[in-house]
């Protein structure tokens, strides 16, 4: 009797025990496959890849602001300069390539390569993804196109700082950027040539052109007009005026909206709205106290070059212990550096002129400027002297695109032409100067990068 009881108990418990063991074994894979953190994902789905590219902090914001600190549209007075907290900015202001980099890294470098890493990760994942329907295929293409665009955008920003300007004759020999095209973080990539660097930008953009949508609800996402506009900028920097003009035209065919400054309320603290009709691609420089309006003085000669009836004078600037800037297309104190129809028009005007199409060039300038003056104040009396007109366009280019990250690259490309070369000076406790085509136009590569990768310093 008792013996029987034991038998039953043994049987029941044994079968129970073994069934549970089997159960845990069989479902262990699923049991352990659950995500430990809901917020975390291994980015593989289109949704995840899109979300990576929609990270505006990495893709659109925090672009390097040294292009303004080192350029000639602004100056610091001695007090503002000495109280700067960023050593890096202090040195950039006086064009000092310095021992500072011996111990430190550069956010300008790090943040852009982070953007490139995101893009590479997305590009790899997108290749592995098999779309299940048309809609997914469209989304997949858009994501791929966007990633290519963002990667080119990052290389552009880096190319303005860490390697010399594009020159047809020397671009094959001069050192460009390390071109990282995979997300393998352990890969060591050596520096390419300048022509390879620019070639990669063109390659990415030309591929992107086939994939991005014509328009988007979000100005932070790349669209066809922004790819065209970007290409016209790149070709302009390369001196390929015909292509630049072609791209600018294609862009403006899709979108040539302009703000009429006569309708602007210049008394607002920041008169120009964020995401306004001129913005093709939204991008902003890093928000930093270094170039806050309270510290940064606008170059007086530049300010005085605006006509009294030029509305940009009151929409862009105000007086408060000096001339201050308030004309950011970001609608606030942070500096816009994205792509716009106004920039594209200026690219077109310059390229057309350089190609000899004076009348077309004049027409374009008229179109832009008539939107910049008080109603009926703008006089269409442009010269048809090509040389004078070029001077005029370049002057207007500087005035229109002030503090939009354009001046530095204009200085670098125009210095190659003795007609437009300029020596920059800084007055602090002593005077500093930057002569045209000086090697100081190129920042040193951060020392920690050199230490880790062994690539060649500038």
């Amino acid at each position: 009797m008792i013996h029987n009881k034991f038998k039953i108990a043994f049987f029941v418990s044994f079968s129970f025990f073994s069934s549970i063991v089997l159960l845990t074994l069989s479902c262990s894979e699923e049991f352990l496959d659950i995500k430990p953190d809901k917020q975390m994902v291994v980015p593989r789905q289109l949704k995840d890849l899109r979300a990576l590219l929609d990270n505006t902090m990495k893709m659109n914001i925090s672009m390097p602001y040294f292009v303004e600190v080192a350029a000639d549209d602004m100056y610091f007075n001695l007090n503002s300069y000495t109280t700067l907290t960023s050593e890096e900015a202090k040195l950039a202001y006086i064009w000092e390539s310095s021992p500072y980099y011996n111990n430190n890294s550069s956010t300008a470098w790090n943040a852009r390569y982070e953007q490139i890493f995101y893009c590479n990760l997305v590009l790899e994942a997108v290749e592995k993804y098999n779309p299940s329907n048309k809609l997914e295929e469209k989304e997949r293409n858009e994501i791929k196109g966007s990633a290519l665009f963002y990667r080119a955008w990052a290389y552009w920003q880096l190319a303005q700082l860490f390697c010399g300007p594009y020159k047809i004759d020397s671009s094959n020999t001069e050192l460009g950027l390390p071109l990282r095209l995979t997300s393998n973080i352990n890969e060591i990539v050596n520096r390419s040539s300048i022509s390879d660097t620019w070639g990669q930008m063109l390659l990415d953009l030309n591929q992107s052109m086939e994939l991005v949508p014509k328009s988007s609800e979000w100005k932070t996402r790349p669209t066809l007009p922004s790819v065209f506009s970007f290409l016209s900028r790149v070709y302009l920097a390369m001196g390929e005026y015909e292509k630049s003009s072609n791209m600018a035209e294609k862009c403006l065919e899709l979108n040539d909206s302009l703000l009429n400054y006569a309708n602007m309320n210049s008394s607002k603290s920041y008169p120009i709205d964020k995401f306004n009709v001129e913005v093709l691609f939204h991008s902003v420089m890093a928000s930093t106290v270094t170039i806050r309006e309270t510290r940064l003085n606008v170059d007086t000669i530049l300010y005085n070059s605006y006509d009294q009836s030029d509305l940009r004078k009151i929409c862009y600037f105000y007086h408060n212990n000096g001339i201050r800037y308030k004309g950011s297309y970001n609608g606030d104190r942070d500096f816009f550096c994205g792509l716009s129809t106004s920039e594209t028009l200026l690219n077109l005007a310059e390229s057309e002129l350089r190609l000899g199409n004076i009348s077309s060039s004049v027409q374009i300038m008229d179109k832009l400027l008539s939107n910049r003056y008080s109603t009926n104040e703008y006089k269409k009396n442009l010269t048809d002297n090509a040389e004078q007109l070029l001077q005029f366009i370049l002057k207007e280019r500087r005035k229109e695109l002030v503090f939009r990250g354009i001046r530095w690259f204009d200085l670098r490309r125009l210095n190659q032409d003795p007609r437009f070369s300029k020596t920059l000076t800084r007055k602090l406790d002593k005077e500093y100067s930057l002569s045209p085509n000086s090697p100081k136009y190129v920042l040193p590569i951060p020392q920690n990068v050199i230490d880790k990768s062994g690539i060649v310093q500038n």
Partner: protein, 1056 residues
């Protein structure tokens, strides 16, 4: 242990008038006591109990018995009481060498003489007699190898970090695993009722701990709750009341007296230091002293008024007001009530605890209710069931204002500030803006902008309410006498609901409203309460299936267990913030514009900060298989082996890499059982042990695949993702190899016992920071398995009872040595400054302890300027920044470990006639700490002074008397670093501390009514008896604002 209780009936011997009684004598653990002396009171006849503890005797009903046995308290009892009970329990002599027979590892009960590893059971009496708010605090100084690391602490009640036998990991958890009633405890240690604990066992080596596998690398602390005593009803009650002394604000040397501070402000004023602030459009606040100087400069007050007012200020001392109005003597109350009921088939215990702690900071209070019920049911000879329920509720109100949190101007409070006026009424203090600016804010259509610290603390509300419910259900099925199945299931639910609120009257809200009020007087920011909810819900379950096999065959004894376990732990967190709340009607503001830059007062423009909003959901899952075999031959030789395989849902780890197999082996040899070694006859236990094995450690941060986390983009409001980790496909779990060898001993006379253990721990495959080329696109910490850390050490415990008469003395001595060394780690030359400035977080360097003390060499002061001298470019000078940048690791002075290498304690207790006194002395040696001193940039920019300021270099010649640099009115952080991180600041940490004292009185009067009762006086944190440093700093917490506060408690314990 399995035993069966045999008891005998009572036979009446009616003819003689005498009764023939048969009884059994047992100890509290139900073990029969043989050879006890039973004396009949009337005729002094003596008999002895047999091997079963039984005896039978013919005795008169009115007689009394006296039962004596060495090691137990003498018991006298009337025959009448034996008639009903039949069982006589002897209490163990309170001050015997504790010979614990059985150790609970959380998986099984192991006879201690069979163990092969380093296992420590905390001395129960020492633990019981201490006053404890939580279970872990009360074991300090009671076990070798355990270090309470308090370097981070700024005050007495801060949490410490527990380290067992050194530090075996760099970036993963360094704390031991805590196991409560068989399962890992993931909650707050305060949720365990400290008075409800039966015993605490510490598993230190591989053979004892590796059954806990991947979580055991730092050792395991196993806590077991009380069970009701066998076959009786018992009721116990504890009542404690006590005080904690208020913070001593005058202890902190980082303070400058009011007059010195005002003198400094005058000097700074002269060189125009405040000019930019005075003319700044943001109207930053200026101290009353500086405001006076401005008035005088502008001719608005004359010299006499100025001096009079200045003198008035210099007589004020904020520490005086703060001591009186912010702090108080704390009051602790603790009540605990327990009932135990048991018979042969049911064992139930209930306990209810309540604590109320009025902390030493005013408006700060903790309340706690703890309930537990443990029930074991023996349904029949083969089936046992158990149901345990634990519930705790803790409510904390943290509405006090700490001295260090007053912070006018967002700086350390200036020393002559005051909290009250001469009438004792709360008074305004500067905060963000000059009084001249905010003075007429009401007239300008703004809210009152005044900051009154003492009233303001009433308008903030920081509370949390934590409830935790744990349920254990288990069943044991005894299939045969050798084979037993166990199913254990535990479930817990924990919710911690926090509310942090600024009421509309608070300065915080008024300031925001005023800042965002536009020139027309329109309020952009809503005038209402700002409330933040921080709700955390965690729940989890564990389930274990285990088979136990115990077989005894001739000379062979086998105990084996095996089984599997699954665990899940999840945490959901929800943080939400509400602006503009009206608590009476619960309306609040939504749809504020968070993107526009609004003009702000006094100047500038800003966006309204988006209200906090966070959602987290985390889940950890583990699956384990385990087995352990213990084999004993001839009761002399023990062999143990264990293996465990753990797997988890660690993120992105490829499935075949999710698991980790861990194992251990061990053996022990009982020398005292060897007949040919008769010299060991005096030992009741003399056991040589040796063990080796691997334990694991988990790190949730490292992942194999790139992982991203979702957020809401603040520009587009679209979901966006940020890469958290680029992924490391070669990721492995950390693995720690432990070798332990030792000896356990105790004498037969139970006067001397102890253990000596030596160990080596080698942690390979540790995750270490690896710095990548930023061009890779990843700039954060990249963790890979490559680092190694080694610990070697020695644990010695010695328990002696020198005198054991009516006057008794017991002495427990503990000594631990541990040497910690990084064997492999990538060197960062460019992070040299982290070496000499950090000592709280690890800066691993090959060949040195993980926490090491480095300092800059000191070259003295310049004899003309009092500047610290540094060499650069071959000459002594003041090029501090260049000097600091040029430093290489060999230029630094290396002092050694920042964690004690030798620790120990001595606990003595003496007892005489129902009164006993116990005291614990602890010591720590072989380590260094950095003391703070004056930093002029901190002084000028942050108001933080230091008494060393008074000894500074003032004129040539002073460099002979002092090493404190001359004042620098221009902030120069490099100059301050050269001094503050120099070798001058490094002090030896060696010290001896009187940790705690208890006086225990067992009143005889009460024993007539109560079974046993005790009155205990506890004193904790009695202070440092000796220290190597002259700076009067507690080396365990050198950055503390206050010394450890003394605590005095009175406890009354009784058992009915």
């Amino acid at each position: 242990m399995f035993y069966s209780i045999i008891f005998f009936g009572i036979l009446h011997a009616q003819e003689t008038g005498l009764l023939n009684i048969q009884c059994q004598i047992l100890d509290r653990k139900e073990r029969p006591i043989s050879n006890a002396t039973i004396t009949i009171n009337s005729n002094k006849q003596r008999i002895f109990s047999d091997d079963n503890g039984s005896f039978s005797i013919l005795i008169n009903m009115s007689d009394t018995l006296e039962i004596k046995k060495l090691g137990y308290q003498i018991k006298k009892l009337p025959v009448s009481s034996v008639l009903n009970h039949k069982l006589i329990y002897l209490n163990e002599d309170a001050i015997d060498i504790e010979e614990v027979e059985v150790i609970n590892t959380g998986y099984q009960f192991v006879d201690k003489w069979r163990s092969t590893g380093a296992v420590k059971r905390i001395n129960k009496e020492s633990y019981e007699n201490r006053f404890k708010f939580n279970a872990i605090d009360a074991i300090e100084g009671l076990s070798a190898g355990l270090n309470f690391d308090r370097r981070n602490n700024s005050s007495t009640n801060d949490r410490h970090t527990l380290q067992l036998r050194g530090i075996g990991s760099i970036f993963s958890d360094q704390r031991p695993l805590i196991v409560l009633n068989n399962f890992p405890f993931e909650g707050d240690i305060n949720d365990i009722n400290p008075n409800d604990i039966d015993n605490i066992v510490i598993l230190k080596d591989a053979s004892s701990a590796s059954i806990w596998g991947a979580r055991a690398s730092n050792g395991v602390i196993v806590i077991t709750s009380k069970r009701a005593a066998q076959n009786k009803v018992s009721v116990n009650f504890n009542l404690s009341q006590g005080i904690q002394e208020k913070q001593d604000l005058y202890y902190n040397p980082s303070f400058l007296t009011s007059s010195e501070f005002l003198k400094l402000e005058e000097d700074l004023f002269k060189i125009g230091h405040f000019n930019s602030a005075e003319n700044n459009l943001t109207n930053p606040a200026l101290t009353p002293g500086v405001e006076l100087m401005i008035l005088k400069r502008d001719g608005l007050i004359d010299q006499n008024t100025y001096e009079f007012e200045l003198k008035k200020l210099s007589e004020q001392d904020i520490r005086k007001d703060a001591t009186k109005y912010l702090y108080r003597n704390g009051w602790n109350q603790q009540y605990n009530f327990g009932i135990g009921v048991s018979n042969n088939n049911v064992n139930s215990s209930f306990s209810l605890g309540y604590d109320n702690v009025d902390e030493t900071l005013q408006n700060q209070n903790k309340k706690r209710i703890l309930f537990s019920s443990n029930n074991d049911f023996k349904l029949n000879s083969i089936l046992n069931l158990a149901l345990n329920v634990n519930y705790s509720n803790r409510i904390n109100r943290n509405n006090g204002l700490r001295f260090e949190n007053i912070r006018p101007q967002s700086k350390v409070v200036y020393p002559y500030a005051s909290l009250v006026d001469s009438n004792g009424d709360p008074v305004q203090m500067i905060k963000d803006y000059r009084l001249s600016y905010i003075g007429n804010s009401v007239d300008n259509g703004l809210l009152d902008w005044a900051y009154v610290p003492l009233t303001d603390r009433n308008f903030t509300n920081d509370t949390y309410d934590n409830k935790r419910l744990t349920m254990d259900i288990s069943a044991g099925l005894k299939v045969t006498s050798d084979l037993k199945f166990d199913i254990k299931y535990q479930f817990f639910y924990d919710e911690k609901l926090g509310i942090y609120e600024y009421e509309k009257e608070s300065y915080y809200v008024r300031n925001l409203v005023n800042r965002f009020t536009d020139s027309q007087g329109k309020r952009v920011f809503p005038f209402g309460n700002i409330r933040t909810y921080d709700d955390n819900y965690s729940k989890g379950y564990s389930a274990r299936l285990q088979v136990n096999y115990d077989k005894s065959l001739d000379d062979h004894l086998i105990s084996a267990i095996g089984g599997s376990e699954i665990r899940q732990y999840s945490l959901d967190r929800k943080v939400s913030q509400i602006y503009g709340l009206d608590d009476e009607v619960l309306t609040h503001n939504i749809g504020l514009d968070y993107t526009t830059y609004f003009p702000t007062n006094p100047n500038g423009s800003e966006r309204i900060r988006v209200p906090e909003s966070t959602l987290n959901s985390k889940i950890d899952r583990y699956l384990s298989y385990f087995g352990n075999i213990l084999y004993t031959y001839k009761s002399k030789y023990n062999l143990s082996a264990s293996a465990r395989w753990d797997a988890s849902n660690l993120f992105g780890v490829k499935t075949n890499q999710k698991g980790v197999p861990l194992w251990s082996i061990g053996s022990s040899w009982l020398l005292n059982k060897e007949d040919y070694l008769s010299i060991y006859d005096i030992f009741s236990d003399l056991r040589l042990k040796i063990s080796y094995g691997f334990n694991g450690n988990i790190n949730n941060q490292a992942t194999a695949y790139p992982t991203a986390s979702y957020y809401v983009d603040y520009i587009t409001s679209l979901p966006n993702a940020t890469i958290l980790n680029p992924g490391n496909p070669e990721l492995r779990w950390e693995k720690i190899g432990i070798f332990n060898s030792g000896i356990d001993f105790s004498l037969k006379n139970k006067r001397i016992g102890g253990s000596i253990d030596a160990y080596f721990k080698t942690s390979d495959d540790l995750l270490g920071n690896y710095e990548l080329d930023p061009t890779s696109g990843y700039n954060g910490i990249y963790l890979i398995n490559y680092a190694s850390v080694k610990n070697k050490g020695l644990d010695v415990e010695l328990n002696i009872i020198p005198i054991k008469k009516s006057f008794a003395w017991r002495s427990d001595f503990i000594l631990s040595y541990v040497k910690n060394e990084v064997i492999k780690y990538e060197k960062f030359d460019d992070n040299i400054n982290s070496l000499y400035s950090a000592w709280l977080y690890p800066v691993p360097i090959e060949g040195l302890p993980l926490y090491n003390t480095f300092a800059l060499p000191w070259f003295g002061l310049d004899n003309e300027t009092g500047n610290p001298l540094v060499p650069f470019d071959g000459e002594m000078g003041t090029r501090y920044t260049e000097y600091l940048n040029s430093l290489k690791i060999n230029d630094l002075k290396n002092f050694g470990s920042a964690i004690p290498t030798w620790t120990g304690s001595l606990r003595n207790s003496i007892s005489f006639k129902g009164v006993s006194v116990a005291a614990t002395i602890t010591w720590k040696t072989g380590y260094y700490f950095r003391r703070p001193s004056i930093s002029y940039s901190e002084l000028i920019s942050n108001n933080r002074g230091h008494i060393d300021f008074l000894n500074r270099w003032k004129s040539p010649g002073d460099e002979i008397k002092t090493q404190v640099p001359s004042i620098s009115l221009i902030s120069n952080t490099s100059r301050d670093l050269v001094y503050n991180q120099s070798e001058l600041m490094i002090e030896k940490g060696d010290h001896i501390r009187l940790n705690d004292v208890q006086i225990i009185w067992q009143p005889r009067i009460l024993s007539k009514f109560l079974n046993s009762s005790q009155l205990i006086f506890h004193a904790n944190n009695l202070g440092i008896i000796w220290r190597a440093n002259n700076a009067n700093i507690d080396p365990d917490m050198p950055n503390a604002m206050y010394p450890l506060q003394k605590q005095f408690m009175l406890t009354f314990k009784t058992t009915l």
